[in-house]
């Protein structure tokens, strides 16, 4: 291999280059941090670091964490270290600008999505637009203004109150998932031996009372993802009321909405005043009633929020008609990733209520194998009727 990248003579040395490589990986979506950089450097001391094959294998073992990253690593390694003599960008001019160049990574948007909850609820991207071009900004604003709908007109507060009750009942129905681990309990099917021994010490080895243990009920979390694209406008009233009710009745629930992008609305909807909550939501739901990119939005969800908030004890509820302007394969892939978190997936489709409905939309067909429960819903009553089915889930 003679295609090793020639770095600028002003580079501060091998560790600075490694830091540059870390920044390169981070830009490309690998989750590497300071501790990984540290581990990578100590790994290189264990191998012949001048041998590209050995150092590649070593860095691969340390810096990747899943099959997908593993597969991409070779290309990333080549583009940085084996760039045929060219330096693509000035990697690490000096050490003191290190932190600076890490923050100004190109994938700022991706980072924001992966960041904390508070950050993500803020409407993103608007600042960049404004700075870029004065005129462009004006045009964009007027366009957006037309698309903006005040959700307070769409959703009635009475509905929210009714939805709150329904959501509370659904929450209870879902709660009946029993743990496999036993805990001490008043009544139970097994003897709690540890307790028994302790108690029988007082009675000279005669177990007088038999303490029991049983499987406790574990709470399940609901994560609702609502489609508010143009084709769903009719049903948005019901679904948003339901989600608003859900958020108010269940502290652990989480909610998102999407049209062409995904927004987390959990914080906004927890506002004490339902009307104000909807007002805050309107700000976030900029683009409401526009096109829909289900695949892309769900993919974003699976890659970012789902990693933090979705686990084996989560029920993901997707409220959408499945009409997608994106590719069906992306939706299928997004659902596969989501399902791998170990959650249950419920898809409520308002169109399924129609007599001769078949899930023929390519996206819907691709998602179907990953769905545990596929039901119609376009009125609050339909949602209420889900209760017995959720019990069985």
């Amino acid at each position: 291999m003679t295609r090793v990248t020639k770095f600028s003579g002003r580079d501060a040395g091998p560790s600075a280059r490694m830091a540059g490589f870390m920044a390169h990986l981070r830009d490309n979506g690998l989750r590497v941090g300071v501790s990984e950089a540290d581990a990578a450097l100590s790994a290189l001391t264990q191998v012949d670091a001048y041998d590209p094959i050995q150092s590649r294998c070593a860095l691969k073992a340390v810096l990747t964490g899943c099959a997908e990253e593993n597969a991409r690593f070779d290309d990333l390694f080549d583009s940085f270290w084996m760039n045929g003599g060219k330096v693509k960008e000035r990697v690490m001019p000096s050490l003191n600008s290190l932190s600076d160049s890490v923050h100004s990574s190109r994938s700022a948007e991706g980072e924001q999505a992966g960041g904390g909850a508070g950050e993500a609820t803020a409407p993103d991207g608007s600042d960049g637009e404004a700075d870029a071009d004065g005129e462009g900004k004006l045009v964009a604003t007027t366009l957006r203004q037309k698309m903006k709908r005040d959700l307070r007109d769409v959703v009635q507060t009475d509905d929210i109150r009714e939805a709150e009750e329904i959501a509370r009942r659904l929450g209870i129905a879902l709660r009946h998932r029993r743990s496999r681990r036993r805990k001490a309990a008043q009544k139970g099917d097994r003897i709690h031996f540890r307790k028994l021994i302790r108690q029988s010490l007082q009675t000279g080895g005669e177990p007088i009372r038999l303490p029991k243990k049983s499987r406790p009920d574990r709470p399940q979390k609901i994560v609702a993802i609502c489609d508010v694209s143009g084709s769903m406008t009719l049903y948005a009233q019901v679904f948003l009321a339901f989600i608003a009710g859900l958020m108010r009745s269940d502290d652990t629930a989480d909610a998102y909405l999407f049209h062409t992008r995904l927004v987390r609305i959990a914080e906004a909807l927890r506002d004490r005043d339902p009307l104000r909550a909807l007002g805050r939501l309107s700000v976030l739901a900029d683009g409401f009633g526009g096109g829909s990119k289900i695949g892309e939005s769900l993919m974003q969800f699976s890659r970012t929020y789902a990693r933090k908030f979705v686990d084996g004890r989560t029920v993901v509820m997707i409220l959408s008609d499945g009409y997608d302007t994106g590719s069906a394969s992306e939706l299928g892939e997004a659902m596969r990733l989501l399902k791998k978190r170990g959650c249950k997936v419920i898809w409520l489709n308002p169109l399924k209520g129609w007599d001769d409905y078949e899930p023929v939309a390519a996206g819907m067909a691709a998602a179907l194998p990953y769905i545990d429960l596929f039901r119609p819903a376009n009125r609050l009553a339909d949602l209420a009727a889900l209760e017995p089915e959720l019990m069985r889930l």
């Binding site: 989750r31 501790s35 990984e36 581990a39 100590s42 790994a43 264990q46 191998v47 094959i53 050995q54 294998c57 070593a58 691969k60 073992a61 340390v62 990747t64 964490g65 899943c66 099959a67 593993n70 597969a71 743990s179 496999r180 681990r181 031996f193 540890r194 028994l196 021994i197 029988s200 010490l201 000279g204 080895g205 005669e206 177990p207 990693r307 686990d311 084996g312 791998k340 978190r341 170990g342």
Partner: protein, 290 residues
């Protein structure tokens, strides 16, 4: 021992590892970090631990994970029957006072794999098999043990590690593992081997197979993996297939279609795969492999 030496040592034990994998194992040993192996079933993830144990000439301690696995099955448990008898004996001999201190001592402690692993004189290989089957709580518990290698038993106090075990975790992707666990581990993805590697594996494991038949077997299995199957056959299946052919005295795959179809039981493990891979298809693949 450097990476190539390790690779050779593993090959001597009959395990042919790829460069990536050998390096990951080498670093896990050198840096003392846990190694997470991911890959489809039957590609030899568990086998690595076994081979590594014999290369290092040390004990292999295995913890098989399942949903609901808890501390009493993975770390320690008290021997309740013995405790009860001991209390009664103490009550009869009038030494009930001392009984409490005695029954919560080493003598009454049942070691489970995790506790056993940190109490060995010589660092063992700890294999945490199919970690993705255990639930999130267990993952969190394991993280704690992997970071400080000590276990606290309320009645006995903290037990520090006598030696730090080499930890190997395997997963085959039934669910995602937490980022925290992934970050603590080195990672290697174990895939299906290429033709050359698989041939060396077959030669290492079944030295009696003739070169001609060995080539046919590998060619056949490699092309079979390219078919649309529900369960792609792994290395273990390939070895079973070879053993079956040997047992039946077959020395050429193309000779008897009926026998070949019968031995497919070792490679195809679902009803629909058996149904879809008909005699014609096996003959076509075998013909190409020959």
């Amino acid at each position: 021992m450097d990476c190539t030496a390790l690779k050779t040592a593993m090959a001597e034990q009959g395990y042919v590892a790829s460069d990536d994998l050998a390096m990951a194992v080498h670093l896990a040993l050198a840096l003392g970090r846990p190694l997470l192996l991911e890959g489809a079933a039957g590609v030899g993830k568990t086998e690595i631990a076994r081979v590594l144990a014999s290369v290092q000439d040390t004990k292999l301690i295995r913890l098989q994970c399942y949903e609901g696995l808890d501390a009493s099955q993975s770390i320690y448990e008290w021997n309740y029957q013995k405790q009860l008898l001991s209390i009664r004996a103490a009550a009869e001999s009038g030494t009930a006072k001392e009984a409490e201190a005695r029954i919560f001592s080493e003598e009454f402690l049942l070691e489970r794999p995790l506790l056993a692993a940190i109490r060995q004189d010589k660092a063992p290989i700890l294999l945490v098999d199919e970690i993705d089957r255990a639930d999130e709580e267990f993952e969190a518990y394991l993280l704690e043990i992997l970071s400080d290698f000590q276990i606290t038993i309320p009645e006995l106090g903290t037990i520090p590690a006598k030696s730090r075990p080499v930890v190997i975790l395997t997963a085959n992707g039934t669910r995602d593992l937490s980022d925290a666990l992934r970050r603590r581990c080195l990672y290697a993805h174990v895939g299906y081997p290429d033709r050359h590697t698989e041939l060396s594996i077959l030669k290492a494991r079944c030295p009696d197979v003739e070169a001609h038949l060995a080539n046919q077997i590998i060619g056949f299995v490699q092309s079979l993996r390219k078919e649309q199957l529900e369960k792609t056959p792994g290395i273990a299946e390939m070895l079973d297939f070879a053993a079956a052919l040997m047992g039946l005295g077959v020395n050429d795959l193309t000779h008897d279609p009926a026998i070949l179809q019968a031995t497919m039981a070792t490679l195809l493990k679902t009803e629909s795969d058996r149904f879809n891979i008909t005699t014609e298809i096996t003959q076509r693949i075998a013909g190409k492999a020959a």
